[in-house]
Amino acid sequence: MTDAARTTLSAADLAITDAALSSVAEEMGEALGRTAFSPNITERRDYSCAVFDAGGRMVAQAAHLPVHLGSMPTAVRAVMRLGPFEPGDVCALNDPFLGGTHLPDITTVAPVFTGGPEPLGFVVTRAHHADIGGMAPGSMPVARELLQEGLVIPPITLVRGGKVEEAAMALIVRNSRAPEERRGDMRAQLAATRLGGRRLEALARRFGADALRGRFAALLDHGERVVRAMLDDVPDGRYRFEDRLEVGDGITIRLAVEIAGDEIHFDFTGTDPETEETSLNAVAAVTHSACYYIVRCLAGQDTPNNEGCYRPVRFTLPERSLVAAGPPRAVSAGNVETSQRITDVALGALAQALPDRIPAASSGTMNNITIGGYDRARERPYAYYETIAGGAGGGPQRAGRSAVHTHMTNTMNTPIEALPLAYPFTVERYEIRAGSGGGGLHPGGDGVVREYLFRDAATVTLITERRRFAPWGLQGGAPGAVGRNTLVRADGTVERLGARAQIEVRAGDRLRVETPGGGGWGRPEEE
């Protein structure tokens, strides 16, 4: 396309095209959410859908999960190396070092054709599958290397010319503890992909394929302009912050955010090396996502969900560090936990530049719990995954909200009454953890208490953080309370668990997870 094609797109056409492409992504997401089989997708909506141009640049994403923002483009670029494609192809992957995030997130990428030999673009789905094998149900074990976490799917062609490669599908499905559920969820992803392809073809008919390519480019430029305008208003400077993850005496993420004119540079020089002990290693794509999320928050309501927004963003990621891990390291918690700490560090740095916009630290952990094993009553193996909310940090404008997911996740809870219909455990207590938010002029929100009662033996994995290093307050506000994981055996014995634990439970055992509160903001007013 020509530059003229970009610049002539009117103010109205920008909005109209953005609305049309966002509709495609939303319709894909709606279809996926309603047709999948595992509660993780249908109830918790742990997935994202997006549209990409032929160059592998994201032009629209449905407002699903921030953690997928920066990592989906990497996946598309990895898949593009499999080309040339033909109509009806769908590729899949979950390899964290080749475009994935962590193994349970399976991505599908499908080229969309409108007549010519070159694709018009790609439609993409990414969904968190409840189990993809590995050493513990849920595929988020306390692991030391990637292969312990589950089946690794490099970029492959899963559907060729509209026909599913049954051998590849069987291989994926057979490597899960819940093969039928996997098959249903994969089928839902493929159906959503097909739907997205049809919708994008219809847009090409409406606008003309070449004109639509021009519109893609114009949308990306628009995103770039919105973000540059925002960055221009942030005071120039180099703002440093660091925070720790709970391995040994603490492993540290160090960040200098540099604002110069309308550009931003996230410099992680000095961050600790990747860890061999745990899965808290973030691949670069996850680090990008966390930083993009912060940029997106600051840029406000008018920001489109496209990759143009991130052209003014630059990174320095030390190789083989906590924020840019490489094989064969385990990475499952990098996506869910380290990503939260990266946002904390970025917010801590930016609070120095924008004291009237940045809140104190939120709970800073997704409180991941996976429960699995063999359900004797239903005579089937199962794996269940969920995350538990915490408190939001207090901010310059208001107190933090209690019991809400913050920053890199926004997944729903599973109804308590739905659990015993499908699994051999129940939730016996689910309430706000009073007093856990940090004090301040605007106090932090409170965390949550969620208590499980197991009706049968099971393997339980906990991946949590902020059990020792509390969510910090800002401007004189107090830190939030750290979380606590407690196992109460059927005989009354109480075991304090660490931040990460893999335990064998028996019928009658109870697990209590108390999630951290948010940090407080501002010194409390003296009476």
Binding site: S38, A191, D302, G395, H405, N410, N413, A418, E431
Partner: protein, 663 residues
């Protein structure tokens, strides 16, 4: 029934539609928001009639929730579950808001009590409640000044006995009691609790309102009062006072019901309704029937009540246009609302969608409401100047762009109810109403490739029409969670029978009238799924064909099905119905003077001389080629260039693209 009055209370106007001697009369007067019943009674006085029946679309319950003016409400939960509503689904509505707001709760925490008693998931008793504790909790709620008490215990859909203890304990008390096992015996605790609490929260307010209105009506010697429910059917005062949560979508449901009735009489069974007002727009897709969904979300709280599937977006004629820092034109989400309203109303300065229509010459000359409301064209032109820089200084280009983006926003809303539900909008007729719907309909139909637009003769009073025509309905949904196999057929049938008996007794047919007709349905899903689809059961109550119907529906909605997969029944549903009156909305036709004026109107940058025609003077068979603008009291219809309007036998305008045969 020969004299029936339909009333719809809106934010600005209260609409009256009097059905008398086989004809309708329209009356409008300003609403009285402090007490909506005043406008209703004044309107009846003004009309000078004593209707045998008054059917009323009401926003009392919805407004009580949105404005947090409901009753002081207490809640009893199972131990450990007191914060279910505060936690909700643990998500934030705006993912990119660094400081998510905490919604104002319906129940203060000091009025939330926990009952020490436990049911197992199958409904069996683990820890039985102590009756004295139940009595004590009722007493504590009363002492704390509660007007209403909601009780929602875990797994109570499987065993109501714990909750029923509160009925005995509260007998003789003034408390408005709302039990989840009565209000919404369906599984999923957050939804059930929210529904039960909403019912309690609006209960005393709604009871007072219908009592006040009933007294006023009795003084005037009218027949009984009925209130339109969210399912588009109406209910008598006793049911509404007990189950006010069923009226949360009263007005919009009546509007869709009225529009569907009109379209159906005209021969169009497959329609998308498009009701565009000043601050919001309602759209709904009817595929041969009113579309239903099992719940409605009000201010973030889900209410599990059968509801006409209306999708509402906060965009309308008052939506404000501006160019963002990246150079894209945004229309909304900010709205000029009713006050100050669009610039052309005379006091605001923001440029809105309505102002854009004024600048394009489509509104203005004759004002609104038959000239009762003048429009300040100068002010609209002054307001557009803020946008012109993005359009080469051309005010008409800027105004056209605002209309185009507004159309794109509406298109997105329509896609939600059509494409996202598995329907192709091209197969449907767009039924446009509300003050602004008929002005935007042609452009919207073009973007969605819809071939036909229908504008009813009275596009401003369709909700009142839906009220007059409404069936009386009572509904019940109950979770059973049974596999859909022969072995559980008896249990499913028992549950259906019980639900059918419940709804039948709620509709006492007048002496000599036919008893209510009962229909049944099952909420089904593939085992392991989390969403259900509702499938009707044949009149014979047999399950033959139900499984196949589910697969077909699943394929239509989600583009796949699995005929081999196991299916389960989540809930059974029963609806009792007594048919309403088939009031014919065809107006009296009087050939007008055909005083056609001509004025300049801009279409896509082109200035065209356009006829302005008073719709009241049109008679069946009249044809008008676009461009033309048809004016009437409370709406304006644009026949776009390339479109042709024809008046059908019932007075509807049928707009089609020229050259397209009416099918």
């Amino acid at each position: 029934m020969s004299v029936v009055l339909g009333v719809d209370v809106g934010g600005t106007f209260t609409d009256f539609l009097l059905w008398r001697d086989g004809r309708f009369e329209v009356h409008k007067r300003p609403s009285t928001p402090d007490d909506p019943s005043r406008a209703v009674l004044e309107g009846i006085d003004a009309l000078g009639v004593t209707p045998e029946l008054v059917v009323h679309g009401s926003t009392v319950a919805t407004n009580a929730v949105i404005e947090r003016r409901g009753a002081r409400t207490a809640l009893v939960t199972t131990e450990g579950m007191r914060d279910l509503l505060a936690i909700g689904r643990q998500t934030r509505p705006d993912m990119y808001d660094l400081q998510p707001r905490t919604p104002e709760p319906l129940v203060p925490r000091d009025l939330t009590f926990e009952l020490h008693a436990t049911l197992r998931p199958d409904g069996s008793v683990e820890v039985a409640p102590d009756h004295s504790e139940v009595r004590m909790l009722v007493q504590r709620a009363e002492e704390a000044g509660a007007e209403a008490l909601a009780v929602s215990l875990l797994y109570s859909y499987a065993n109501p006995t714990f909750e029923e203890l509160f009925e005995q304990a509260a007998s003789g008390s003034e408390l408005f009691l709302s039990l989840s096992c009565r209000v919404s015996p369906e599984y999923r605790e957050v939804e059930r609790t929210a529904t039960t609490v909403l019912n309690a929260y609006v209960g005393p307010v709604m009871s007072r309102y219908v009592r006040r209105l009933s007294v006023g009506l009795r003084e005037r010697g009218t027949g009984p009062l009925r209130i339109v429910q969210s399912d588009g059917g109406s209910a008598d005062v006793a049911r509404v006072a007990r189950l006010p949560v069923a009226t949360l979508l009263s007005g919009p449901a009546a509007g869709v019901a009225g529009a569907f009735a009109v379209a159906r009489r005209a021969g169009y069974e497959r329609i998308v309704t498009f009701d565009m007002g000043g601050t919001s727009t309602d759209v709904a897709l009817c595929d041969g029937a009113l579309p239903m969904r099992p719940d409605v979300i009000v201010d973030g709280f889900p209410a599990r009540m059968p509801t006409v599937d209306v999708h509402t977006v906060g965009a309308g004629g008052g939506s404000i246009a501006r160019v963002d820092v990246g150079g894209a034109l945004r229309v909304g989400p900010r709205s000029a609302g009713a006050d100050p309203g669009p610039a052309c109303y005379g006091s605001g300065n923001d440029f809105t969608v309505t102002d854009a229509q004024v600048v394009l010459g489509r509104l203005g000359a004759g004002g609104l409401l038959g000239g009762a409301m003048r429009l300040d064209e100068q002010r609209a032109h002054a307001a557009v100047s803020g946008l012109e820089h993005a359009f080469g200084g051309d005010p008409h280009a800027a105004a056209q762009a605002v209309v185009d983006v507004a159309t794109a926003n509406m298109e997105r809303a329509l896609r939600v109810v059509s494409v996202q539900r598995g329907y192709d909008p091209r197969e449907f007729t767009l039924v446009a109403f509300g003050g602004a719907g008929p002005l935007h309909a042609c452009a919207l139909a073009e973007t969605l490739e819809m071939a036909r637009v229908l504008v009813p003769p009275m596009p401003g009073v369709l909700a009142a029409l839906g009220a007059v025509r409404s069936d009386r309905t009572a509904t019940r949904a109950r979770s059973v969670l049974l596999p859909f196999v022969d072995a559980s057929a008896a249990a499913i049938r028992d549950a259906l029978t019980v639900a059918g008996a419940e709804v039948r007794t709620q509709l006492d047919a007048p002496d000599g009238a036919a008893p209510p007709e009962v229909s049944w349905a099952l909420d089904l899903r593939y085992v392991g799924q989390a969403y259900e689809l509702t499938v009707e059961i044949g009149r014979d109550g047999a399950f033959g064909g139900v499984r196949e119907a589910f697969d077909v529906l699943h394929e239509a909605r989600f583009a796949h099905h699995d005929a081999a997969a196991a299916v389960e029944v989540v809930s059974v549903r029963a609806t009792a119905r007594i048919a309403g009156i088939d009031a014919d909305p065809t107006p009296r036709f009087e050939r007008g003077d055909a005083a056609v004026e001509t004025a300049a109107v801009w279409f896509a940058g082109e200035r065209r001389e356009t006829r302005f025609i008073d719709r009241a003077g049109l008679v069946p068979g009249d044809r008008i080629e676009g461009p033309a603008i048809l004016t009437q009291l409370d709406s304006t219809t644009l026949v776009a260039p390339g479109w042709r309007a024809e008046v059908d036998a019932a007075g509807n305008l049928i707009l089609q693209r020229s050259g397209m045969e009416q099918s």
